[in-house]
């Protein structure tokens, strides 16, 4: 998978500023202390990967294609909350799961002008996590996506630029 641009450098709307950074640091420390690397490597091979990204219906569609799980599988009908979302990410890291990121929903951002705060939080929590996989292209702020679920015209446009 070809990756373009720097998503980390340009991601603009993390949740909670200092609060989010503190939480991310705490989780990263917890992960490095509690996960034996060997255990995590083994778990990442045995457990299904999980998919994150902006727009949950889109995330679900991609998870279906690759046979992965989403937070909905873990919630199993429970009502979603910010706390449960953070708890899910922590658990996936403790289990050493592969976390596949299909990135922002650029089409929705262009339509609504809104950016997902929760996806931003997930990205912060996963910073430095060794089994994080980026599965999307990004070109400047408003173009890019994952070719399996996102709009193709913008894709070809992006690839043409190179």
């Amino acid at each position: 998978m070809l990756a373009v641009g720097s998503e980390w450098g340009s991601y603009a709307s993390p949740i909670g500023g200092a609060a989010g950074r503190g939480l991310a640091r705490e989780v990263a420390e917890e992960a490095s202390e509690t996960i034996g690397k060997q255990f995590a490597r083994q778990a990442s091979r045995e457990l299904k990967p999980v998919v994150i990204g902006e727009n949950m219906e889109r995330v679900k569609a991609y998870a279906r294609i690759i046979g992965a799980e989403t937070i909905d599988d873990w919630l199993a009908g429970r009502q979603w909350s910010l706390e449960l979302n953070s708890a899910w990410i922590r658990q996936m890291m403790r289990e050493g799961r592969r976390v596949i990121d299909i990135g922002p929903d650029f089409a929705r951002r262009a339509d609504t002008g809104r950016v997902s705060k929760v996806y931003g939080l997930e990205r912060r929590l996963l910073k430095g996590y060794p089994y994080y996989e980026r599965q999307f292209l990004r070109w400047r702020k408003l173009r890019g996506g994952n070719p399996d679920v996102d709009i193709h015209e913008s894709w070809h446009y992006i690839l043409d630029e190179f």
Binding site: I15, M56, Y119
Partner: protein, 170 residues
């Protein structure tokens, strides 16, 4: 948000406003789908492979309205594209196109974004502070948006459908 969930409010507000699509014989009964983090309501146009779809991303309180190629859009593992073609079009994008022919649409489109944006700001403030927004703010956002979507479908439904027919060659 403890007494009543985001998804319940979404379903109540949008089905109430869109009910005319069914009672006036324009669409079939709505199909509701979803899990803990999202929900969607699809109104299939009678005798045409096109649907109006209203989709909630419950984690971010973002509602998107699409015009979809119905049989493709309901297939598992499909989102914006299927077999190389776009199968979900944003209502806002179609209205922008219509606005080049019908001047009133341009003003209404601006007002729609301004009205919903005002309500969304309150929700955004809560999320930034790592707090769940209050039920009243969520209901006001969804009601305002649903009223606007219903207005566009009532006023310009035929033109929107014609655009979709041309786009997909139906």
């Amino acid at each position: 948000m403890e007494d009543e969930g985001t998804i319940e409010i979404f379903l109540e507000e949008y089905t109430a406003q869109m009910n005319f699509l069914v009672t006036e014989g324009f669409c079939e009964s709505p199909l509701v789908d979803g899990q803990s983090t999202w929900s969607s309501i699809k109104y299939k146009v009678v005798d045409l492979d096109v649907a109006f779809e209203i989709s909630l991303d419950a984690r971010d309180f973002i509602v998107s309205t699409y015009i979809t190629l119905f049989t493709e859009a309901k297939r598992p593992g499909v989102f914006y594209v299927s077999q190389g073609r776009v199968i979900r079009l944003f209502l806002g994008e179609i209205l922008k196109q219509l606005g080049t022919q019908i001047p009133s649409v341009r003003e209404e489109l601006k007002q729609w974004k301004a009205d919903t944006g005002k309500h969304f700001k309150r929700i955004d403030r809560s999320l930034r502070a790592l707090k769940m927004p209050d039920t009243k703010a969520v209901r006001e956002l969804f009601r305002t948006d649903a009223q606007w979507v219903a207005h566009f479908l009532r006023q310009y439904g035929k033109e929107i459908i014609q655009y979709a027919r041309n786009y997909w060659g139906l």
